[in-house]
């Protein structure tokens, strides 16, 4: 009875998963010239291996069937042959040489860092990416964090998982097609690695070192990737999403972003109500704080302190600001003063002081944050 039920459950699971996913076997060809070349190399090496495998295992299985004692096979006693041994040293060496030459050409292409039109700075943080467009003509610098947008409820199996589960971000990075884009990769804490399979770009983001990579995207589309260097707890939850659009659209997008950045700066100056701060605060909290302190402020015992009912969140606003703006040295608490705008900082602190049963009742305004940062 029990076994039967388990079996039915397993079959149902298998069938349902077949329905929602594909059995992808191979590397994507990608949408850049380099990624196509890489795909070609991959397939070339693969087929070389297949041919060698068929030959070697063919001989082996042949003798396993023919030369068995039960069939009366009598063993020969040859055990050496310089000619044969020389041949199977030199022939594989030649095959490998051929693959190596082709690979070296592709490698040289990948290392061609000559003039590019767009420079994108990519900085890894635990556990999100910051993108900054280096553009000397911009009135306002375009720079933003890109965090995973998948709700915690989907991860914890309380909501059905959407199609782009774990591969969706709140703000994708937008790049123009047909344009050489240079990436400058670095990190603000541990080593991360920025990877988009469709572009065949994977480069480590290392603290204190700026790494370079480049791409020219041939097709418009949305391309998803992930961090590929173990970077701590949420290593599995820092996706990369690249949206490739036409150069015209890109220009427009960048201009809009600049405008948005200017408006965002103005947000700091405007008047905020308590409700507005709480609403914005929840959003900021979810994207910047919840992965450690947990969505309900409970923290993780032994690793990340709880905020619900914590002396800091219930204590004077000054102390609370100090921790969030300046971080706590020697712990995982980063200095968010450089990562959040004054408005977002005010919102998130107000939220933390008045959510999950915390009821200080005060509100911290962007002006308070500004004054705190200015040392007043």
């Amino acid at each position: 009875m029990k076994l039967q039920r388990v079996f039915v459950a397993l079959t149902a699971l298998l069938i349902s998963s077949v329905a929602r996913a594909d059995w992808t076997l191979n590397m994507p060809r990608g949408v850049t010239d380099i990624s196509q070349e890489v795909y070609g190399l991959h397939m070339l090496t693969f087929w070389v291996c297949v041919v060698i495998g068929v030959l070697v295992f063919g001989v082996m299985f042949y003798s396993m069937f023919k030369h068995r004692k039960s069939k009366g096979a009598v063993s020969s006693n040859f055990h050496e042959s310089t000619k044969v041994e020389l041949a199977w040293t030199l022939i594989p060496a030649a095959v490998i040489f051929a693959i190596g030459v082709k690979a070296t050409y592709t490698l040289a292409d990948m290392y061609n860092f000559e003039e590019s039109e767009v420079t994108l700075e990519v900085v890894g943080y635990q556990w999100r990416w910051r993108y900054r467009y280096i553009d000397e003509n911009a009135e306002q610098e375009v720079s933003f964090f890109s965090s995973m947008a998948t709700p915690r409820d989907e991860i914890n199996n309380r909501l059905e998982k959407n199609e782009n589960y774990l591969l969706e971000v709140d703000e994708p990075v937008v790049l123009p097609t047909g344009t050489k884009v240079r990436f400058l990769l670095s990190s603000a804490d541990v080593i991360h690695s920025w990877w988009v399979p469709a572009l065949a770009v994977k480069k480590d983001a290392i603290p204190g070192i700026v790494n370079e990579a480049w791409t020219i995207i041939n097709e418009e589309g949305t391309y998803r990737g992930q961090c590929t260097e173990l970077c701590g707890k949420d290593h599995g939850f820092m996706p990369v999403v690249v949206e490739a659009v036409s150069p015209e659209e890109f220009e427009q997008w960048l201009a809009d972003k600049e405008q948005e950045a200017i408006e965002l700066a103005e947000l700091n100056d405007r008047e905020w109500t308590f409700e507005e701060l709480m609403e914005r605060g929840e959003e900021v909290y979810t994207s910047a704080c919840a992965s450690c302190h947990q969505p309900n402020g409970s923290g993780v015992p032994g690793a990340f302190p709880a905020l619900a009912n914590s002396p800091i969140a219930l204590g004077p606003a000054e102390g609370h600001l100090n921790v969030v703006v300046n971080g706590v040295r020697g712990t995982a608490m980063a200095a968010y003063g450089n990562q959040l705008s004054d408005a977002d900082m005010a919102a998130v602190i107000t939220y933390e002081r008045n959510a999950w049963g915390n009821d200080v009742g005060d509100m911290v305004t962007p002006v308070d944050v500004y004054n705190f940062k200015a040392g007043e």
């Binding site: 998963s17 077949v18 929602r20 996913a21 059995w23 992808t24 380099i34 890489v38 190399l41 991959h42 090496t45 693969f46 291996c49 495998g53 070697v56 082996m60 003798s63 396993m64 030369h67 096979a73 063993s75 020969s76 006693n77 040859f78 055990h79 041994e85 060496a93 490998i96 693959i99 690979a103 592709t106 490698l107 990948m110 914890n156 199996n157 998982k161 774990l166 541990v190 080593i191 690695s193 990877w195 770009v201 994977k202 480069k203 480590d204 290392i206 603290p207 204190g208 998803r224 992930q226 590929t228 260097e229 173990l230 701590g232 707890k233 949420d234 599995g236 032994g302 690793a303 995982a332």
Partner: protein, 528 residues
């Protein structure tokens, strides 16, 4: 230490073992120590395996079900550390302890007291390592490659215990290796010239040299971590002018030879078993020796192929790509030699042979994916994905681990004087064979489709193959309990085995009784 070792021949010639627990605590007998190494490594294999079961269970379905990411990271880290340093390496040292003196016609290891010490510090090292899991902040969670600064500035407090555990393991390995070198160079029976030694002895001699050369490098790199964490140096800390990339260079300068430390003795075992069951001399003995030596040499100049994505300049990248691809040549020679040994032999397929043949096929598949990974431009796509996970597990599980199992089945009659149950052995083989392929083959597809390694949860397109892989994992894991049963059953209730249970087996170990007497070759044998 050294003067004491000379009089051991006279000390306890033709005595049986002492009784009780003290026999094992104070023993200097190579067979006793070999047995302890083997049981210890099997215990670690089960412990590391149970961590792997946690990993596969969590990855059975997308979403977080059983464990939280921080614990998942501790599981991947501990699985790797325990399997590499606790299961595979001590198992080979155990086999070396048992077999090398018997194969070269020596009465014991050259340095029996150091032998005792090198074993008995191991349980302490691993007890310390395992205890970190219960410490505040958890155990090591930075992967078995422990890249700085995740393992230094950002590490849990237990990292210090991890470092000391690695120091002790390193000391144990170094002592074991020195002992093996001394035994092989000094203790061979008259007439046992170097080029007459069985390949298992040869591969272990070369492995021992590798160990002596690179274990200090591991000790050095963890010492640097210790200094960075506690004494304010800045080897790997960018803020103080150090470089996290330096860590990776030093780690892999140790790490790549380490990979061969885990596979060269396997070559030796397989080179003993295949001729025995093909009833035909090993093809190309001397080329096997030279191939092993060249693989060992090349292992020192390929380390940066683990670091193709860290931003190495073009010339460096090209050099390490070419050097790595070159390794395929001597490795190919070995595979061709094994196949040619089987060709026109007179084969039977007892359990050791099944494992050995499986080793040749699946290790070669691991070698193929290794060749693919060596191609630097393609490695940008494979690096740190499940393709790499599939690759090194193919080399280490049906590679190193299967060779150890083959060796256990092959020599168990000699050790215990009893014959294992052939049917059960074959069942164990087939379950393991199916399990290991269902477990690891789909991981190639996962990696190519873009699944990064060391993640506790994954996107939906990876769901199917992960489930298949987990099922294979559970099957493989469960089959190893059968292995435990078979070994225990053999020791307790196996049928008596003759001195030479395998028709085609060759070597001095088969000239002594089964079970091998407590002291063998107290007078050196004659070698023709």
């Amino acid at each position: 230490m050294t003067t004491a070792t000379h009089d051991h021949d006279h000390d306890h010639e033709h005595h049986g073992p002492a009784k009780g627990l003290t026999r094992w605590l104070y023993t200097t007998n190579h067979k006793d120590i070999g047995t302890m190494y083997l049981w210890f490594s099997f215990a670690m294999f089960l412990l590391g395996g149970s961590f792997a079961m946690v990993i596969r269970a969590e990855l059975f379905q997308p979403g977080l079900q059983l464990v939280q990411p921080e614990f998942f990271n501790q599981m991947t880290t501990m699985h790797g550390l325990i399997m590499v340093f606790g299961a595979v390496m001590p198992a080979f040292v155990g086999l070396a302890n048992w077999m090398i003196p018997m194969m070269v016609g020596a009465p014991d290891m050259a340095l029996p007291r150091m032998n005792n010490l090198s074993f008995w510090i191991l349980p302490f090292a691993f007890a310390m390592l395992a205890s970190t899991l219960f410490m505040e902040g958890g155990g090591p969670n930075f992967g078995w490659t422990f890249y700085a600064p995740l393992s230094t500035t950002y590490a849990p407090p237990s990292v210090t215990f991890f470092i000391f555990a690695v120091h002790i393991m390193g000391a144990s390995s170094i002592m074991g290796a020195i002992n093996i070198v001394a035994t092989i160079l000094n203790m061979r029976a008259p007439g046992m010239t170097l080029m007459k030694m069985p390949l298992f002895v040869w591969t272990w001699l070369i492995t021992a040299y590798l160990l002596i050369a690179v274990m200090p490098v591991l000790a050095g790199v963890v010492t640097m971590m210790l200094m960075d964490i506690h004494f304010g140096t800045a080897f790997f800390n960018a803020a103080g002018g150090g470089s996290p990339v330096l860590f990776q260079h030093i780690f892999w300068f140790f790490g790549h030879p380490e990979v061969y430390i885990m596979i060269l003795p396997a070559f030796g075992i397989v080179s003993a078993i295949i001729p025995a069951f093909a009833r035909k001399r090993l093809f190309g003995y001397s080329s096997m020796v030279y191939a092993t030596a060249s693989i060992a040499f090349l292992s020192f100049i390929v380390w940066a192929h683990h670091m193709f994505t860290v931003g190495i300049p073009f010339l460096g990248e090209a050099f390490f790509m070419w050097a790595t691809m070159l390794i395929a040549v001597p490795t190919g020679v070995k595979v061709f030699n094994w196949v040619t040994t089987m060709f026109r032999g007179s084969m039977t397929f007892e359990t050791p042979m099944l494992f050995a043949i499986c080793f040749v096929v699946l290790f070669t598949i691991g070698g193929f994916s290794g060749l693919m990974l060596a191609v630097a431009p393609a490695d940008f796509q494979y690096h740190d994905t499940y393709f790499v996970v599939a690759h090194f597990h193919y080399v280490l599980v049906p590679g190193a681990v299967f060779s150890i199992m083959a060796g256990v089945y092959y020599w168990l009659p000699k050790w215990s004087g009893k014959m294992y149950n052939e049917t059960l052995g074959k069942v164990h083989f087939w379950l393991s064979f199916i399990g290991v392929n269902v477990l690891f083959f789909p991981q190639h597809f996962l990696g190519l489709a873009g699944m990064p390694r060391r993640i506790p949860d994954y996107a939906l397109q990876f769901a199917d193959f992960n489930m298949v892989s987990s099922i294979g994992g559970f099957l493989f894991g469960a089959s190893q309990l059968l292995f435990l049963y078979i070994v225990v059953h053999t020791i307790v209730a196996g049928k008596p085995a003759p001195a030479k249970p395998w028709e085609g087996a060759e070597g001095l170990e088969w000239t002594v009784d089964s079970p091998a007497p407590y002291h063998t070759f107290s007078t050196p044998p004659k070698i023709d």
